[in-house]
């Protein structure tokens, strides 16, 4: 059996990995907030979503977390009237991405909060390992 403290480090790192994936999706959405098409009536960038799932790792005997799916948001596009835009249709309407900046920022905050908690657990587990090893030190 692997030492539970080492398992703890591995579980925490799986948590950190999915949270950074989530961060990546958030920044992708934020970067593309104005990405429209370039032909008349073309569809703009579609917002991406990420979902997580808990996966049992038999070797570790623990539930790690993984990215389940990176999908797209099927919500309506933002329509703005701008006849001079290259992506404007015959009525002069331009489709903008269905990205809500506030929503993305809230998501980003949640991701970084969860990341911090995971990091804290890693620090704590490492401290416990170090303290145990320190018992060998001559006093």
């Amino acid at each position: 059996m692997i030492d539970p403290l080492v398992v703890s480090l591995k579980i925490s790192s799986s948590g950190l990995r999915v949270q950074s994936q989530r961060m990546r999706i958030v920044s992708e959405n934020l970067a593309n907030v104005q990405s429209t098409g370039d032909t008349p009536g073309a569809n703009p960038y579609q917002r991406k979503t990420i979902t997580f799932k808990s996966e049992v790792d038999r070797a570790l005997g623990a539930n790690l977390v993984e990215v389940k799916n990176i999908g797209t948001d099927k919500g309506d596009y933002r329509i703005e009237f701008d006849p001079s835009h290259p992506a404007a249709d015959e009525n002069g309407n331009v489709k903008y991405p269905n990205v809500n900046t506030l929503l993305e920022l809230a998501d980003m905050r949640e991701a970084s909060r969860s990341y911090e908690a995971g990091l804290q657990m890693m620090v704590k587990s490492r401290e416990m390992i170090t303290r145990t090893i320190d018992l060998l030190r001559s006093r």
Partner: protein, 126 residues
């Protein structure tokens, strides 16, 4: 010899604490997983009570009941502080408090063992 009993007790509690620590890590890693229920390990007292009579283990493959390699994890949905819309019952605050308890107890145990080592050493005259 008395101190030997103390050492085995401390080492058992430390291994219980590390199992608890990894369970807390699991909860924190799954803080955003839909449908995940928060878990905790069986209290140390219960494990101690159950292991007063031991089965003899003469080979490495035999079942042993010393609490160190049995990973008894249970779901404690009733103790959860909050359950989110996605049916996730992990509360970061609650988990971090638990991890603080674990860290405190572990540091107490290791320091205790350290000072007992010192005592044994001084009785040897070094």
């Amino acid at each position: 010899m008395e101190p030997v009993y103390l050492f085995s007790l401390v080492s058992r509690q430390n291994s219980w604490l590390s199992v608890r620590q990894s369970t807390i890590s699991e909860n924190i890693a799954n803080v955003d997983t839909p449908g995940y229920a928060s878990k905790d390990v069986e209290p140390f007292k219960d494990i101690l009570d159950k292991t007063s009579i031991r089965m003899a283990a003469t080979q490495s493959g035999h079942i042993s009941e010393d609490g160190s390699n049995s990973r008894r994890v249970r779901v404690n949905s009733s103790e959860a502080w909050e359950v989110s819309v996605s049916d996730n019952s992990v509360s970061l605050e609650q988990e971090l408090i638990k991890s603080g308890e674990v860290a405190r107890q572990h540091s107490l145990n290791t320091q205790l063992v350290g000072s007992f080592y010192g005592l044994m050493k001084s009785s040897l005259g070094r």
